[in-house]
Amino acid sequence: MEQLILARYGEVGLKGKNRRFFENQLIKQMEQALDGLPLKGITRTYGRIYVTMAGEVEEALRRLSYVLGLVAVSPTQSAPLDLEEIKAAAVRAMQGAAAEGYTTFKVETRRPNKAFPIKSPAVSRETGAEILRQVPGLTVDVHSPQVTLQIELREQRAYLYWRQLPCPGGLPLGVSGRSVLLLSGGIDSPVAGWMAMSRGLEIVPVYFHSFPFTSDRAKEKVVDLCRVLARYSGLVKLYVIPFTKIQTALREGGREDLQTIFMRRMMMRLAGRVAEKEGAGALITGESLGQVASQTLPSLAVTEAVVDVPVLRPLIGLDKQEIVKRAQDLGTYSISIRPYDDCCTVFVPRHPETRPDPEAVAVKEAGLVAAELIEEALTEAEILFITSDWEGS
């Protein structure tokens, strides 16, 4: 039996001439999310997308609830534009609600199709009455109903639904291009990555592995974080860049106070190279102003001076509590707090420089790390393709 899902989008609908492009991208993402399920087709009308499934509706709903750009999805009944048919569909829909234990409802009707002869309040009234007659256990409560049956009278057909699953909103993945995410395993960077994704940026995460200073469990943490992010993108391509030799070389150059800055500049350079390779137009970091010594304005400036692409910092205006809250909602928090050091916490100088002078840094850094080491790290980078954690692979 065919089953219908109504998907609504938010911001995409505000687009002008480009709207078609955004919609196409959104539908592509939806198709990708539903890959492997019995999908019969995706169609669109103005402001709405309809997904027809030949089964597995619940799984389809769950997967669609992670598609960026969508605002909500609803399992939906459709009926020809005929009051008796609409009433029958309403009864079918509300039988489902009653079966789930709901007891009070109301009906709300919208009539964008003004050619339909009966006005909205009358449609609501008549279908409500029919539901009361046909579905035992339901009563009307117009003030605070447990369930609201929505009826939409559109050009071709009427659509009825009462369940709405929230989706993440934002823009469809990929409409803004691609970025490289510096992913550390901490609390901040996965949130930053998600925020970039929700603005339509595809992400390619890069992780710097400093074995033996950071353990393989720290790397596993990053893989698990990617599994969560992959819920939204289907697949994540993770670069694991060996960083030990570079870190050792920096360490041996002295200037303890500048270690963190040297290290971050090297990370930026490496991430910048990955961006070139991946055709990415930006770097994303989890930096938030003033959180640690490397996140002062002068430090950020010195750090990003070594790359050409813009460095975006989606968390710049958030405080730590807000970031933690978002990480919890996203499901990355419990992974991030696993107690394994990441490369940013191992070599923390006793007195880090918080106001580095760009020229002095460049001079001190010159010759500290040979170009070969950078090339070597890139060549030896491990590339992992990571699927979402509910795909069980």
Partner: protein, 385 residues
Amino acid sequence: MAEVYLDNSATTCVHPQVAEAIMTALRENYGNPSSAHRRGQAAEQAVKKARRQVAWILRAEPGEIYFTSGGTESNNWALAGTAQARVRQGKQLITTQVEHPSVLEVFRRLEEQGFTVTYVPVDEYGLIDLEALAAALGPETTLVSIMYVNNEVGSIMPLADIARLLKQKAPQAVWHVDAVQGFAKLPLFPHDLGIDLISISGHKIQGPKGVGALFVRQGLRVKPLILGGGQENGYRSGTENVPGIMGLGLAAELMWERRVEAGAHLAGLKERLRQRVQAEIPAVYANGPQDSRGAPHILNLSFPGVKGEVLLHALEDKGIYVSTGSACSSHQAPGSHVLKAMGLVPQRLDGAVRFSFSPDNTRAEIDYTADCLREVVPELRRLMQ
């Protein structure tokens, strides 16, 4: 060198003969010991045999051995079960500062329930302070729990001296010994010493994980922790883990049979590693007794200037597996409670690594480990300076 496993106090590789016996039990002797039919009886026989094997090593009666899910359950049960059973006689309990968390956490819980617990300190070698113990013991003491071999530094608690003190000052107290690290490797005869309860674990003696035992002296009443079908005389319900129990019994017997030669071999390995490391790397400290008061299979070394965990990973890269402190607590805040109780300075706490040996380790493996340490430690010290 392919792989050098020096983390045998965390767990051991199952003995091949034991693995085979478990496989047979899984595939052929699959009955429920409580079943009335022949299949069940065969399983019951297997459990009985394991009970005899464990009892024999302790010079105890088979009826005094109860099988559990492991050392943690044995410790939990022994302590919670005794404290509750004797609450009318008193609420004063005694243990040491260096016990395993599966002992300490139970005492913390008992404190919340109104019991008073004395945590007896240890000396710089991790050996119990007998004077402090003597001072703590009294007519109100109902329960004393002292481990046999410390899992982090290998100190062997002087059980004979403790037995004398207990007899003198608190004969009424129940005495529990967590013998997870010493059972079947070192002699332990509860009836000679007056020990009431002994915890045993399968996977520390080349047996399977998820199985252990508790020796309960005949006539002693311990409240059961796990209730249900009345298995193990009603003391520990739940269908017996027949393959695990069989494996534990056989592993214990195999370990015990070769304890003398194994002990000499292990002591040789430990001594060699310590001597080489201390001779070839500056400023390395051995934690715990290095004489007969220390177990031959545990060597704890401090490498000041190196983070223990980083050294662990550096060795891992060379195929050598060791641990920092005890495996169970390595995910927690740094600084082992055992080394702290021994009064070690922070630098020595930070850089502590435990090497624990099995009879299967060879001298070549020890030399390879010493070579790697000689290479890695100065390097890391320079970088982490």
